[in-house]
Amino acid sequence: MAEIIESGGGEKGGKKRPKKGAVRMDMTPMVDLAFLLLTFFILATSLSKPKTLEIIYPKEVKDETEKTKLADELATTLLIGEGDDYIFYYSGKFDPDTTTLIKSDFSKDGFRKVLLDKNRSINERVFELKQDLNSKQLSKEDYEAQYKEAYSKIVNDEQAPFVIVKTIPKSKWKNVVNAMDELNICNVRKRAIMDMDKQEEASLEKRVKELGLPAPTSDNSND
């Protein structure tokens, strides 16, 4: 296909000799281009697929008595305020006089460390489960099915700590997503997301002032 065989041309007059070999075309640039395009399309098609984070919201419970009672000592409450790069949390029950809000953030050594520490036993069990299943050499479907079942049993353990994420209307969406993501990373499945109480909000504001944190910036950087 890439060879053009010259025929004729040189016969007239007998002076020119017909060329013996075929003319070869250098295909390298074309091939280069083809593979460049190929690479582009391969990368572009698989990378552009958006990812999603699944969040399940609780049903609206009107009746107080229907609410599930959870042990206070297992609770951690995360307060997401107006600020861009800081969050606060407290453990246990909220008491406006004695509870101190601890400042944290979504960096590697921030809230994740706290969660990992609280959720240590669950994480260890998940880790063991993974190792156990890996050693069994199951097919992918079996692995997924078994993992899913055992995993949900572990993370929904009665003694598993749970996290309540509380927001104010001016909380930034990315912080809420970050919080959910942290919970996923740390295998915290018992969680809730709700509005902040007035008391908590006041206490949060007070704490922000106490620490002299900068007012929320209005730039939209996504970091």
Binding site: P50, T52, P58, E124, T167, N222
Partner: protein, 224 residues
């Protein structure tokens, strides 16, 4: 001993099969690649470590930084059915066959019903301008158009699924309609909560939040 003859010219490799294959693949990828539909708003989604892919059959609500709400649903027939449902609810909404066709192939939209007709007959450049100026789909309790779109969208999806002969069991499992929310990272949470509350009123509690992928984290090393 006669020396073996060496070829004078450099050895040439026949690249034709490779080139053929290369172009075949290029053609394949060009044809299968989907062009991103024209999006009326630019939304900078937050990042997460979740590797779940966005399902295909989704009802997508997009919320931009100012809290404007845009709506989109997957499927040409579904969209047509949905618009028909909206016309039934609002007889004042007059839509020609031409506009209907346009609506069925359009991506997301963020118009209130009063302006939807104009939007559908406008050409590309006017539409872009309207997208910039629009306040989004109304979500306030007085004129909750988003709630109506969600309802009609869901009903249209169910009708379409029945027409295509998808069983109820399959709809419950993985072929059902999923609800996705795509919001800018800098959007105030109250705006998103408002949209979520509209869904919750309709007993929809599970959402796919659209995010971009961030490098994964393996915590197993820490927990040892």
């Amino acid at each position: 001993m006669p020396k073996p003859k060496m070829p004078k010219s450099a050895p040439s490799l026949d690249m034709t099969p490779m080139v053929d294959l290369g172009f075949l693949l290029v053609t394949f990828f060009i044809l299968t690649a989907k062009f991103r539909p024209n999006e009326p708003v630019l939304v900078d989604t937050p990042s997460s470590t979740s590797e779940l892919l966005l399902p295909e059959k989704i009802m997508l609500v997009t919320i931009d930084q100012d809290g404007r709400v845009f709506f989109d649903i997957h499927g040409k027939d579904v969209r047509r059915e949905m618009l028909n449902g909206m016309i039934e609810r609002h007889p004042e909404l007059k839509v020609t066959e031409d506009q209907m066709k346009r609506f069925s192939v359009m991506g997301m939209f963020g118009m209130d019903l009063a302006n939807l007709g104009n939007y559908l007959s406008a050409d590309e450049s006017v539409r872009a301008k309207m997208d910039q100026l629009t306040k989004g789909i109304p979500t306030d309790s007085l004129k909750n158009e988003l709630s109506e779109w969600v309802q009609e969208g869901y009903e249209a999806f169910m009708i379409d699924a029945q027409n295509k002969g998808i069983s109820i069991e399959n709809l419950r499992e993985d072929e059902g309609l999923r609800y996705a929310i795509k919001a800018d990272g800098a959007t105030d949470y109250e705006k998103i909560e408002k949209v979520i509350d509209i869904f919750r009123e309709k007993n929809i509690f599970q959402f796919n939040m659209v995010t971009t992928l961030e490098a994964g984290v393996d915590i197993s090393a820490d927990s040892e």
